[in-house]
C-alpha cells in the first residue's frame, strides 16, 4: 500500500461547523482513513503542524493568532484548501468589516444595556483582533476552495476523493453551495 497522505485541519475565525461536516462524512471516514492520516487537527489535538500533503482551513483571519496559524499551515502543507464560507469571503465575522473595530468593542463590552462594570478584555493571553476580517486568500496563497456554510459532507468527500485521485476537484449541481 502506498504511503498515506498527511492531512492537517484547523478552525480560525470559524464556528467548527465545517469540522462537524467533515465528521458528517460518517462511515465513509473509514475508507478515507485508509488513504489519509491526520496531523495537527482538533480531531487529534496535535498542537503544531508537521510537513503535510493537505491542509484544510476553516474560518477567516480575524486576529493575530489566526495569521500565525495560517502561515504555519502554508509553510507545512503542499496543498492548502480554504473550506467554508468564512475561509472564502470572511463570512459572518466579516460582517463587522464596514464598522470601526473600536466602536464594535465599545458597544459590546461597555455601552450595551445591562453591562455593569464592563470592560474591553485585555488579558495578554488573548490574541489581538485585526482591524478587518480577511478571507484566507488575502493572507496566503490558497490552492483550492470548498464553498458552503458548511459544505455538505458529500461535497467534502467528493472534493477530497477527486484530489487524492489526482483529478481537478469538481463539485457540480447540488454539491456546490454558498449557503
Amino acid at each position: 500500500m502506498s504511503k498515506k497522505l498527511r492531512v492537517a485541519t484547523t478552525s480560525l475565525a470559524g464556528c467548527f461547523g465545517c469540522h462537524m461536516s467533515i465528521l458528517d462524512i460518517d462511515e465513509r471516514l473509514f475508507p478515507l482513513l485508509d488513504l489519509i492520516e491526520f496531523d495537527r487537527s482538533p480531531l487529534t489535538d496535535i498542537k503544531h503542524c508537521g510537513p503535510c500533503d493537505i491542509g484544510l482551513v476553516e474560518g477567516g483571519v480575524c486576529n493575530a493568532e489566526n495569521v500565525h496559524v495560517l502561515h504555519e499551515f502554508r509553510k507545512n502543507c503542499k496543498i492548502l484548501i480554504a473550506i467554508g464560507a468564512c475561509a472564502i469571503n470572511g463570512g459572518l465575522p466579516a460582517q463587522r468589516n464596514h464598522l470601526d473595530l473600536g466602536s464594535c468593542l465599545t458597544e459590546v463590552y461597555l455601552t450595551e444595556p445591562g453591562l455593569l462594570h464592563g470592560h474591553i478584555p485585555n488579558d495578554p493571553e488573548l490574541p489581538l483582533p485585526l482591524d478587518k476580517v480577511h478571507p484566507l486568500h488575502e493572507v496566503v496563497k490558497i490552492d483550492y476552495f470548498i464553498p458552503g456554510c458548511p459544505p455538505s459532507a458529500d461535497a467534502i468527500w467528493k472534493f477530497l476523493i477527486d484530489l487524492i485521485a489526482g483529478k481537478t476537484p469538481e463539485l457540480g449541481h447540488g454539491l456546490i453551495k454558498y449557503d
Binding site: 466579516a94 490558497i142 454558498y178
Partner: protein
C-alpha cells in the same frame, strides 16, 4: 426557414429583429446571462452573455442575429471570462449567502454554481451600504446590488413609476430611490409592482416572507440555472404545442 446562424457548431433559426440571445433561448440553447430579461429591452451591461461572433467578442443580448453568423459561446475562454465577472461582482458588494433570504433563488449565486466558481479570489471591498427599511412592506438591502438596472427598467417601462435609478459613476455608482427624502416609504411602490419581481439578487425583498420556502427547496436548488432559464424563455410553439425552433429539445 432560411434565416439561420451557427451557435457552437449547430444551426439556430431566427426571426428578423431577434438578437442572438433571443434566438438562442427560443431554440432551447442557453447562453449565460444576468442583466438580460426576456421582458425588457436589453441592457448589455453585465457582459456575462459575451460570445464570439465571427471572432469578435460581443454581448449576445444586444447583437442582432444575422444570416451566416458564426457564434461561439460554450468555450473555456469565454467561461473563464464569465467566472471572473461573477467573482468581481461578489467581491464588490457584501454577498453573504448564508444569511441572505434570496439564497437559492438568486441569479448571481446560481450563475456561480453553474460556472463552478468556488471562490472570488479577489480582494473583497466590504462597502458600507446601509439598508432602507422605511417601507412597511418592502426592504431594500443595497449590500447586494449588482447595478443590473432591472428594477429601474421594470419601474419605468412596466409600472410607469420611476421609483429607482442609478446615481454616481465608476466605483461610486449606486442604486437610489426617487424621492426627496431618498426613502422607499416616500414613493408609491407597491408589492404588486413588476419592480418587486425582477431583482436577480437579494436587494428588493418583500417583508415577512424570509425563509418560508426552506433552503434546499428553492428555485435553483431544484435545477441549475442553465436548465431553468430555458424553461422561462419565450418560445414559438407549433400547433401540437412543441417548440418550433428546437432541435431535439423538448
Amino acid at each position: 426557414m432560411n434565416d439561420t446562424f451557427q451557435l457552437d457548431g449547430s444551426t439556430v433559426p431566427f426571426e428578423p429583429g431577434q438578437t442572438v440571445m433571443q434566438a438562442a433561448l427560443a431554440a432551447g440553447r442557453y447562453i449565460p446571462h444576468l442583466c438580460y430579461h426576456p421582458e425588457f429591452k436589453p441592457h448589455g451591461s453585465c457582459k456575462l452573455c459575451t460570445v464570439k461572433a465571427n471572432g469578435r467578442t460581443v454581448a449576445s443580448c444586444t447583437m442582432p442575429a444575422e444570416t451566416g453568423l458564426d457564434v461561439e459561446s460554450e468555450i473555456e475562454e469565454l467561461n473563464a471570462l464569465r467566472r471572473s465577472l461573477v467573482q468581481m461582482l461578489f467581491a464588490e458588494g457584501n454577498h453573504f449567502c448564508p444569511s441572505c433570504e434570496k439564497s437559492g433563488n438568486c441569479v448571481l449565486q446560481a450563475l456561480g454554481y453553474d460556472l463552478e466558481v468556488h471562490a472570488t479570489g479577489f480582494r473583497h471591498l466590504y462597502p458600507d451600504r446601509p439598508l432602507d427599511a422605511s417601507h412597511p412592506d418592502i426592504l431594500l438591502d443595497f449590500n447586494r446590488c449588482i447595478l443590473c438596472e432591472l428594477c429601474v427598467r421594470a419601474s419605468s417601462e412596466v409600472d410607469g413609476k420611476n421609483v429607482f435609478a442609478l446615481s454616481g459613476r465608476g466605483i461610486t455608482k449606486h442604486l437610489i430611490v426617487n424621492a426627496e427624502s431618498g426613502k422607499l416609504s416616500d414613493t408609491n411602490i407597491a408589492l404588486t409592482d413588476k419592480a418587486m419581481q425582477v431583482c436577480p439578487v437579494g436587494v428588493i425583498l418583500p417583508k415577512r416572507v424570509g425563509f418560508s420556502v426552506p433552503i434546499g427547496e428553492r428555485r435553483y436548488d431544484q435545477r441549475p440555472i442553465s436548465a431553468q432559464a430555458l424553461d422561462d424563455a419565450p418560445r414559438q410553439t407549433d400547433s401540437s404545442g412543441n417548440c418550433a425552433a428546437c432541435e431535439g429539445t423538448p
